[in-house]
């Protein structure tokens, strides 16, 4: 399946290569560089590129291209999904997935890649198993290793891979047993010029951080499970139980994992927690444009809208801006024409606004489209869909765990057309 992997940085250098079958010369990446040159933006490089003898499938994460070399027919999503899993693993191990982090930990990276694929077919991709095989580097461990000469390769061979619950490592022990669940919902919406919603949907996830001793068996039930339109589960969730009783029953992996992600479709009515009043105009003939933006909260159920960030790609003709924010700070990059305004918290009594003028290129005609405005925000202690966890129970172990559930709503791809 996957023949080789090349890691390419933003400036087009191959800084790591790994082969699982015979060696493929790195010149195969020339086809990739060609495609990269043709694409105007880094995101526009096509994920699948055919070359005379190979196929290149790439993903772009953290400004690094992960380019997999394929020799014959394979479902492209199989490769893409795997590459993303590799990135997730690196992030899990090193905290960040940057070129520097990978270069610093090249040996661990190599050991990981070696375990994750055998002859190009995925072998161990579960983070719990990998962590038993290869311990993630920490400052303390690196120090100890250099002094004592011991290694970060696990002494015991992992048994989890062979058990009935391959996602959980065995022999877990904690003094404080705790289980935290974060219900995070993101609103994807397109709002049109007049302020009416064109499309809006909610994507939610439940991320868990479970640190429990032994082999706990958890059940999680919701007050209103009918809300969940379409769900996908971590492999640990017992599907039959969900089908029959709408209860999540599972033996959790150790540590952080995504328990479930769900979708509340556009057919349901979605509450939009912010509104935008805007007036952006360019006058024909004059080299000035007006920019006027006001934000306000609505349908927030009394919760504060925080960490608001507005960004907008202004037309190419705009040379500079002279704006005045009522709160927060704004920046405008004259090269990329990207305007960002870090608003902070919205105070319903005094709505934040950004007003001023834009200077346009002299003589250029007026841009025919107004810029789209992207908004990010966070609302704590609320799931916008109204989803509520009813209770969490633990079976199989004797101790009493500490349980916590947190709700949050965020903006996903939230766009306002002007």
């Amino acid at each position: 399946m996957i023949h080789s992997l090349f890691l390419v940085n933003a400036s087009g250098d191959i800084f790591l290569e790994k082969h699982w079958k015979s060696v493929v010369s790195r010149s195969v990446c020339d086809y990739f560089f060609e495609a990269q040159e043709r694409a105007t933006e880094p995101e526009n490089v096509p994920p699948v590129i055919p070359t005379p003898h190979h196929y290149l499938i790439s993903v772009l994460r953290h400004r690094i291209y992960f380019v997999a070399v394929i020799q014959s027919e394979v479902p492209p999503l199989f490769v893409i999904e795997f590459l993303h899993r590799v990135v997730d693993t690196f992030q899990d191990y090193f905290g960040v997935c940057t070129e520097a982090a990978i270069k610093d930990n090249v040996v661990v990276v190599y050991e990981l890649l070696e375990e994750m694929l055998d002859n190009g077919f995925p072998l161990a991709t579960e983070s719990n198993i990998l962590k038993e095989l290869i311990k993630p580097p920490t400052i303390l461990r690196t120090m100890v290793n250099t002094i004592t000469g011991s290694t970060n390769v696990g002494e015991q061979l992992p048994t989890g891979q062979l058990s009935v619950v391959p996602w959980r490592r065995t022999g877990v022990k904690y003094t404080n047993n705790e289980a935290y669940f974060d219900v995070v919902e993101e609103i994807d919406a397109i709002i049109d010029k007049s302020g009416s919603t064109i499309t809006a949907e909610i994507q939610g996830v439940i991320d868990a951080c479970v640190k429990l001793t032994g082999m706990p068996d958890l059940t999680l039930s919701f007050m209103n499970p009918r809300l969940l339109d379409d769900v996908s589960f971590h492999p640990c969730v017992r599907f039959k139980r969900w089908e029959a009783e709408r209860i999540l029953s599972f033996i959790p992996p150790d540590g952080n994992f995504r328990l479930l992600s769900y979708h509340v479709s556009s057919q349901n009515l979605v509450a939009i927690p912010v509104y935008v009043k805007h007036n952006i105009t360019f006058r024909e003939g004059s080299s000035q444009g007006r920019f006027d933006l006001t934000l306000g909260p609505k349908q927030t159920m009394g919760k504060a809208v925080e960490s608001v960030l507005v960004s907008s790609q202004l037309p190419r003709g705009v040379l500079n801006t002279n704006l005045n924010p009522s709160q927060g700070t704004y920046t405008f990059d004259p090269v990329t024409k990207l305007l960002t305004w870090d608003v902070g918290k919205i105070n319903p009594q005094k709505l934040p606004s950004l007003k001023g003028s834009m200077s346009l290129q002299a003589g250029a005609s007026k841009p025919d489209e107004n810029p789209t405005i992207n908004i990010q925000f966070k609302i704590q202690q609320m799931a916008i869909s109204g989803l509520k966890v009813n209770r969490l129970d633990m079976y199989g172990e004797k101790y009493k765990p500490f349980k916590g559930i947190k709700y949050m709503t965020k903006a996903g791809k939230f766009q306002v057309r002007t």
Binding site: P47, I70, P75, L77, F82, V153, E155, P235, S261
Partner: protein, 939 residues
């Protein structure tokens, strides 16, 4: 710790300094590097070796050549330090191909490790051994693979499945042998192995579909529990399999026939309505839950399975999940959108409710935008076109001009597909002609040209408008399009056309090739329709074209001149010039770029690229007639099979052919046995061999058993009704075989059937009463699927009494009390003896030990054959050959205590018979007599 510090001081001083040099100026040491590394590798200190190996791996990762160090590295292959060993493996696999001779030095280490008691070490040894691409060791690899394929640990078997592919790519000539291994591994019931072996199957022998038949149902049932990557591979293999084995569920005419005349209806009935093969249904049912997988590749592969295999009305279950995938990473979106684009051409209805999910955001990458546009266009119909067009209006204004151009094309397609909006679209496009952006204008011109070609009559106004715009347009494709339009409809714009030609004559030399060609075309057409005004202009242009740099243009000019300007050489063709140049031309069809992609299986690389990728396997068409269904049948083990092998071969009965549901049980055993794998297996074989040798009586019985005429179906009794058992029902019967577990037990076979709609787990035997009851339980059945049944055998020691054995049959959630009450005849086993022995034994058992009665035989039982048949059906005894015709003798022993039971039946005249039973178990005698009396008296 102290030991280490001792080492550090005793180590030669310069190594320590060496490390510091290496660490401080890591960039400069390139010249000395290899020498230093070699020295470090040869040192006696583990940490130095490790440091060196880490640096070497760093070099490999950067793509630098480190092959020089091979001899120094390979020495460390047997190191005790796990990390060091692993890094050496990495190195070895990378360079073994280049240094074949030296690589051979390491082989013996792996061969040794293949025999290690730890399964993970065996597996990793096989992994590395098979990754070394050295042709000389092919036989060693073959041997190792074969051995590992029968390993007790499923993890090692999985590794051997991976090794099969490696060996095949190294030496394709081993194919036949490898197929044998694959065949064996396909039978494996471990979920760990399933994905890997199917992968090997796909790589080595994807055409050997016959290997799948027997494993089909097992694979379907295991699928949910297989790891996610294996699921993808198995699903795509099963898709191909299903297309060759089942008939098409897509009968288009079915509904139509319903409304048709009476006679046709009859025909339809005779043509046999479509009934889906239960195996086909099984596949669809078992893959559906996987739509909920977090792995996008799994979801996509289920979606394509439904698309290619499910009845049309069921396909839409995948829609929701595909739309959910659109939230994932950009690359995932790209592939999913491509597949949705292909699907939406054939099945608009599937995605129409989700139309808004395909609305474009300004932050999407260009190729994502284009794909969304494609899908929106495919989804357009009379009802939603106005919404879509309104959305398109926003897109046309986009700053991403390539995307705006694509939108204009999409509008063109909507206009041709939906006649109601053609005019609206055309007007909208004409407005765009005054757009400031050139690409937008150019694209509009091209699209308008295509639209006008479909209905030119009403639109001379637009043509005039475009002619006016002509001067401002610089994009060559657009200019060429306008010229073509004017030429084609020159009779509708008689005043404008010659004027345009005049302008073109002026600028001809400065134009692009494509524009020049169209100018020549326009000139020719005008010459034919309006030669008075344009004759000179045409000749001028033709002269310019004659000396053009481009040979295409020169050729075209020469051709046109011969065609339209009559001279002595031109011959007959020029007569037809008008018909050639001004023939009515069919309007172009604007269709989706994804139109022809459905020739590829969805979700494949070939589909994504729209070219056939290497190794792409065609999806075959449905067969007209389904191939034999019974090839997939896997028989439930026959009672005889259970013990026959223990006599013949010295091997425990292999459960390979057993029904799939006991897979869990099987794995379980193996996992338990993993540590002492060798010892446990030898134990097994020894115990079974001792079984066969020690129990001569047993094999003795076999002979008798064979002698006895087999009688009708064995009577089976109800153990648990499915109403009381919450879906679980059980029946039992006495197979009348010696019990395998203990000689004083009666063998009982229990058939468990799951009549509920969910699978039952952990079926086992719980408490029993009386507590002293000696019972050999069957192994716990981990899982019993709905509709499935399984037969298990158990042994019960009834102690020669007919007292019922009570015990509890438990599932994971419930317990049911059941009891087995044996008939007295079942407590016996046949004994063989001669007539003399019989009489001798009978002589010893007289008086109190003799019970007899005269009975009246039913008419059917008066013949001697049927009489003995009746006796044998009641009691498990053996026939003793008799010299007298009217006397029948039967001999048996009680199972627990082995007491003799002798039965004599002497038939007399007027259909009566004297039954005599001699045994020291007098209670049994009277009970047996009663049973026999009843059986013989009734018809």
């Amino acid at each position: 710790f102290s030991g280490n510090s001792c080492d550090a001081t005793s180590a030669p001083q310069h190594y320590t300094s060496l490390i510091t040099t290496l660490k401080t100026n890591s960039g400069i040491f390139s010249v000395l590097r290899n020498e230093d590394l070699k020295e470090m590798l040869e040192s006696s200190k583990e940490s130095l070796k490790l440091e060196a190996m880490k640096r070497i791996v760093g070099l490999i990762a950067k793509g630098k050549n480190a092959s020089e160090l091979f001899p120094a590295v390979v020495k460390n292959v047997a190191s005790k330090n796990i990390e060091l060993k692993k890094l050496v493996y990495v190195y070895l696999v990378r360079y073994a191909e280049e240094q074949q001779d030296l690589a051979l030095l390491s082989i013996s280490t792996f061969q040794r490790a293949l025999k290690d008691p730890n399964q993970l070490i065996r597996a990793s040894a096989l992994r590395v051994l098979s990754s070394i691409r050295v042709p000389i060791i092919v036989p060693i690899m073959m041997l190792a693979i074969k051995e590992a394929a029968t390993d007790l640990s499923p993890y090692v078997r999985k590794t051997s499945a991976h090794a099969i592919q490696k060996l095949y790519s190294l030496d394709p000539e081993q194919k036949e042998q490898l197929i044998e291994v694959i065949e064996k591994l396909l039978k494996d019931k471990s979920t760990l192995v399933a994905g890997s072996v199917v992968m090997a199957f796909e790589e080595v022998c994807p055409d050997r579909i016959d290997l799948i038949h027997k494993n089909y149902r097992k694979l379907c049932n295991l699928l949910v529990d297989v790891e996610e990557w294996g699921q993808v591979v198995i699903i795509s293999m099963l898709t191909r399999y299903a297309r060759t084995q089942f008939t098409s569920p897509w009968k288009e005419n079915n509904e139509k026939a319903f409304y048709d005349s009476e006679e046709e209806k009859k025909d339809q009935v005779e043509a046999k309505p479509y009934v889906m093969d239960p195996d086909h249904r099984l596949l669809l049912r078992n893959t559906k839950p996987l739509l909920q997988s977090r792995n996008t590749a799994v979801v996509m592969s289920v979606a394509q399975l439904y698309w290619h295999l499910a009845p049309k009305h069921e396909v839409s279950v995948v829609t929701k999940s595909l739309v959910r995938l659109l939230r994932s990473h950009r690359e995932v979106q790209y592939i999913v959108l491509q597949n949705i684009a292909t699907m939406s051409i054939q099945r608009k209805g599937m995605f129409e409710p989700y139309m808004k999910s395909f609305y474009v955001r300004s932050t999407d990458a260009t190729h994502i935008k284009t794909l969304k546009l494609e899908i929106l266009t495919n989804l357009a119909n009379e009802a939603n076109i106005s919404t879509i067009l309104r959305e398109f209006q926003t897109y046309v204004k986009s700053q991403d001009k390539a995307f705006a151009a694509a939108t204009i094309q999409a509008i063109g397609r909507c206009a041709t597909n939906i006649s109601e909006v053609t005019d609206t679209c055309l007007n909208g496009l004409v407005l765009l002609l005054s757009n400031r952006d050139e690409t937008v204008v150019a694209e509009s011109v091209v699209v308008i040209k295509k639209l006008l070609q479909m209905q030119p009559t009403q639109h001379c106004e637009i043509i005039k408008h475009m002619a006016k715009l002509f001067d401002n347009i610089t994009v060559s494709m657009a200019r060429a399009s306008i010229l073509w339009l004017i030429g084609e409809y020159c009779e509708r714009v008689p005043k404008i056309a010659p004027d345009v030609l005049r302008k073109m004559a002026k600028s001809f030399t400065a134009e692009e090739d494509i524009v020049k060609l169209q100018t020549v075309n326009l000139a020719a057409k005008l010459y034919l329709t309006n030669s008075k005004q344009t004759k000179l202009l045409t000749q001028y242009i033709l002269n310019l074209g004659k000396y053009d740099q481009n040979y295409d243009i020169r050729d075209r000019t020469r051709f046109i001149r011969q065609l339209i300007v009559p001279n002595e050489k031109s011959g007959a063709l020029s007569k037809y010039a008008r018909r050639i140049l001004l023939a009515p031309k069919p309007a172009p069809v604007l269709e989706s770029a994804f139109k022809d992609r459905d020739r590829f299986q969805l979700g494949t690389l070939s589909h994504s690229l729209n070219i056939k990728a290497t190794g792409y396997l065609e999806l075959s068409d449905w067969p007209a007639v389904a191939p034999d269904q019974s090839v997939r049948n896997v028989e439930v083990i026959e009672p005889v099979k259970e013990w026959a092998p223990s006599v013949g071969k010295a091997k425990p009965p292999k459960q390979d052919d057993k029904f799939y549901s006991d897979s869990g049980e099987d794995d379980h055993e193996e996992e338990e046995g993993e540590e002492g794998s060798e010892s446990s297996s030898s134990e097994d074989s020894s115990s079974s061999s001792s079984d066969s040798s020690s129990s001569e009586g047993l094999s003795f019985c076999v002979c008798i058993w064979v002698n006895i005429p087999t009688f009708g179906p064995v009577k089976s009794h109800e153990l648990l009704h499915h109403m009381t058992g919450k879906g679980l029902s059980a029946r039992y019967h006495f197979p009348r075989q010696p019990c395998l577990y203990q000689p004083n037990m009666v063998a009982v076979q229990v058939t468990l059937t799951n009549g509920s709609d969910h699978s039952l787990e952990e079926i086992h035997i719980g408490d029993r009463s009386p507590a002293s009851l000696n019972l050999h339980c069957f192994n716990t059945i981990e899982r019993l699927e709905p509709e499935a049944s399984v037969t298990v055998s158990m042994g019960i020691d009834f102690s020669d009494s007919t007292q019922a054995a009570n015990f509890q049959l438990c599932t994971k959630d419930d317990q049911f009390s059941v009891s087995i009450q044996p008939a007295v005849g079942e407590l016996l086993m046949p004994s063989s003896m001669t007539e003399q022995d019989f009489c001798k034994e009978q002589g010893k058992l007289l008086g109190m030990n003799e019970t007899s009665a005269t009975i009246t035989l039913a008419a059917e039982n008066s013949s001697s054959q049927s009489l003995s048949k009746q006796v044998l059906s009641v009691a498990n005894v053996g026939v003793v050959s008799s010299s007298e015709n009217n006397i029948h003798r039967f001999a048996g022993r009680t199972v627990s205590s082995g007491a003799l039971v002798l039965v004599t039946a002497e038939s007399r005249e007027s259909s009566t018979a004297l039954l005599t039973i001699n045994t020291d178990k007098s209670i049994m005698a009277s009970m047996l007599l009663r049973d026999l009396k009843q059986a013989l008296a009734q018809a």
